[in-house]
């Protein structure tokens, strides 16, 4: 396969977007032709997947990385920004994940979205999302990467707000957008700074010259880019948007808010890993933030009652683990976890989608139960996904999680390793709880008895993802076995990532693995015992036992309330009545402050614009005098 085909990876989904979008806009009859729309959307992504597979098989690893230039985008003076793609082990691997999982989820959507009025719009945006995501992972230039980065944010906004007539959903979309803008802003500043230091944003140049950047600047750039990553990947302090993003259609949650877009932050860290390993302080902070996010989000997942919210907090927690992995220098392990997590979490989301579909929109797990009899296939696949996520060997999640945890231990971050282990335990607990409350026990709502299995077009992706959730981990066996000879993924990715070496004695590694397995088995056993016996009562029992802590988890550590009090409410009091409705939903630090001052300035200016001609003339005169004073001062 020729590397010249690379641009088509982005081009195919983009073509799908343009076709769906234009036909849908201009030709009302097309909007109702669901088969045509669906087949077009699926086939462009599937073709992209085949293309990626061809590149993966056809290009020997020794020839990578390759640079494929499409054309010269900007060429001004000494600065050139070509539209160029970078084919290396990392980008190729991410491309496979995005297109593979993406194609399955597109297929699933054909069934899930049937009868929706915005069918064409949905698929157009979904295709656009794939194009933007591929641009993000394949870009050879950080500016181009930023284009993809903004593009996936836009698509996420559009798709969360797919049912925009519902106000709450539209607001959830806006919240996601606004919170992401804070991160994006930091990202952009970081890029500008990097450009100032290096004089180019080409990945090759940036990575080569990383060592020449002065260390404080490097640290600051790393921090800014990391802040951008926390926005996109829903980490502390910018994670608040992801649970609300569940307002979108479930396949969107599976694709964008579990498998692909939210992992962009991890990808960014891995992509710039040669830069990050030079500033250990920033790496330490990343690891700490990751571990804390993993722990806190896992506790919150334990007390959710909305099936999608459980999965959302679980995603935040798993992303936290990935950041922990990246922070301790195990970048390839983090990407490995992106890979395994994509299968298991997409599977769980699609399974949840089938359940919601079967129960006609019901999302509250307290009104489910006993679904395993009515939906055996969904149950089986969901079970596999849950066990894989919980880290039960030999399912996929175990291998990648273990690789990150041993790295944490080996690099001397014992406390963080322990936090990771605790969050793994919590993961098994909430996954067990979810599984039991949804599928086992007696039905707790009449709708359950009417539940039925989804159509074949929705079942097929479940099976496909289940295979991945089982087997995806087998490409990265622990070093314990064969001294790393069986760790294919590590060798493949380490061409592109600058992993830190960690010397961990075999004994300690064995201990760590044993502990992980114990935690997985023990946690699952505990969960099944607790919720299997008592059902919902177990929740109440926990609530009684834990008291204030449980309430704290339920309130999400009061973060939303704190943001609300700090930023949103003062804003409301300051702004005019007609604008209130729009401002209420902006939660976030910088943007709150910035928009508050902006609205303040805005209202001041409008008050000055009184319509009085003499005042206008007076302002002009003041301006003129200012200019004169300036020039007189400069010339004297």
């Amino acid at each position: 396969m020729m590397p010249q085909w690379t641009p088509y990876l982005v081009g195919l989904p983009l073509l799908g977007f343009l076709l769906s979008g234009l036909l849908g806009l201009l030709w009302p009859r097309y909007r109702r032709w669901e088969i045509g729309i669906g087949v077009l959307a699926v086939s462009v992504v599937a073709l992209a997947f085949l293309l990626a597979l061809g590149l993966f098989v056809g290009l020997p690893q020794e020839e990578l990385p390759l640079r494929v230039v499409l054309y010269q985008w900007i060429a001004s003076g000494d600065f050139a920004a070509p539209i160029a793609f970078r084919l290396d082990t990392l980008s190729l691997w991410m491309t496979l994940i995005v297109t593979g999982v993406g194609a399955l989820i597109h297929l699933y959507s054909i069934g899930y979205m049937r009868g929706d009025a915005g069918y064409w719009r949905y698929f157009a945006y979904l295709n656009l999302f794939i194009a933007a995501m591929l641009l993000l992972v394949l870009a050879d230039n950080l500016l181009l990467l930023f284009l993809g980065w903004e593009g996936v944010g836009l698509c996420s906004y559009l798709l969360i707000g797919h049912w925009y007539a519902d106000r709450e959903k539209a607001f959830a979309a806006r919240k996601a957008f606004v919170v992401n803008r804070i991160g994006d802003f930091a990202f952009l500043i970081g890029l500008l700074w990097l450009f100032r230091e290096v004089g180019s944003l080409d990945l090759g140049v940036v990575l080569d010259r990383a060592g020449a950047i002065e260390s404080t600047a490097l640290g600051a750039i790393g921090m800014l880019l990391f802040l951008g990553a926390t926005g996109k990947s829903a980490q502390i302090p910018l994670y608040v948007w992801l649970p609300d993003a569940m307002a979108g259609p479930t396949p969107v949650s599976a694709l964008i808010h579990a498998a692909t877009m939210v992992t962009a932050g991890v990808y960014l860290l891995a992509r710039l890993s040669p830069l990050y390993v030079l500033s250990p302080g920033v790496l330490g902070l990343i690891a700490l933030i990751g571990a804390l996010t993993a722990l806190l989000a896992a506790t919150m997942a334990l007390v959710q009652t909305d099936i999608k919210k459980v999965l959302a907090y679980s995603t935040i927690s798993q992303l936290g683990l990935m950041f922990l992995g990246a922070g301790v220098g195990a970048f390839s392990a983090a990407i490995f976890h992106v890979f395994t997590h994509a299968f298991s979490k997409a599977l769980l989301f699609l399974g949840a989608g089938s359940v919601i579909h079967a129960l006609e929109g019901e999302q509250d797990i307290r009104r489910m139960g006993g679904l395993s009899r009515h939906m055996p296939l969904t149950y089986c696949t969901f079970l596999l996904g849950a066990l894989a996520l919980a880290g039960l060997p030999p399912l996929a999640g175990f291998f990648s999680k273990d690789m990150m945890l041993t790295a944490a231990l080996g690099s001397g971050h014992e406390v963080l390793w322990f936090l990771g282990l605790v969050s793994s335990l919590l993961t098994t607990l909430y996954m067990g709880r979810l599984l039991v409350l949804v599928f086992h026990g007696a039905p707790r709502a009449p709708a359950v008895s009417r539940a039925h299995e989804a159509p074949a077009v929705m079942r097929l992706p479940l099976v496909g993802l289940a295979v991945g959730a089982v087997a995806a981990g087998w490409i990265g066996w622990p070093d314990l076995l064969g001294h790393g000879a069986w760790n294919w993924i590590g060798r493949w990715l380490s061409d592109s990532t600058a992993d830190l070496e960690h010397g961990l004695s075999l004994g300690l590694e064995a201990l760590s693995i044993a502990l992980s397995v114990t935690v997985a088995v023990g946690g699952l056993w505990m969960a099944f015992r607790l919720w299997g016996r008592a059902g919902l009562e177990a929740d109440h029992m926990l609530q009684r036992r834990l008291g204030g802590l449980y309430a704290l988890w339920q309130s999400g550590y009061r973060v939303e309330a704190i943001y609300e009090r700090l930023f949103v409410r003062p804003l409301l009091q300051g702004s005019a009545a007609p604008l209130r409705w729009s401002e209420r939903y902006i939660a976030g630090g910088l943007i709150g402050l910035a928009s508050r001052s902006a609205f303040f300035i805005g209202s001041g200016i409008r008050r000055l614009q009184t319509g009085l001609l003499s005042l206008y003339a007076l302002v002009m005169l003041i301006g003129a005098l200012g200019l004169l004073a300036w020039f007189l001062w400069r010339s004297l």
């Binding site: 614009q609 319509g611 009085l612 001609l613 003499s614 005169l621």
Partner: protein, 100 residues
């Protein structure tokens, strides 16, 4: 022979008077007359500079200025008339529908 500085001083005074008039008066006609005063102040200094430099460009420019002022007058008076027809008043402080 009055020194050139004198002309410039008078011109500056005239210009400032015009500016103050635009700021302080409320009748559109009078404001416009004040603008004309500013232009004539400019004309005065242009002629003075022209003499000072012994170069005719300044005086040519004065003719252009007068031309342009005449064009502006015709448009300005038409606008004033249109305003007066609708409002029966040319007090600019009273026309403030457009604001905010």
């Amino acid at each position: 022979m009055v020194p050139a500085g004198g002309y410039l001083l008078v011109s500056a005074l005239l210009f400032s008077l015009g500016v103050m008039g635009v700021l302080l008066r409320r009748s559109a006609i009078v404001m416009f007359m004040c603008v004309e005063m500013m232009l004539n102040a400019v004309n005065l200094s242009l002629v003075a500079f022209s003499r000072l430099l012994g170069d005719p460009t300044g005086q040519v420019l004065v003719f252009f200025v007068m031309c342009v002022a005449a064009a502006e007058v015709s448009v300005g008076l038409a606008l004033v008339i249109a305003l007066f027809r609708n409002r029966e008043s040319i007090d600019v402080d009273q026309i403030r529908l457009l604001r905010g």
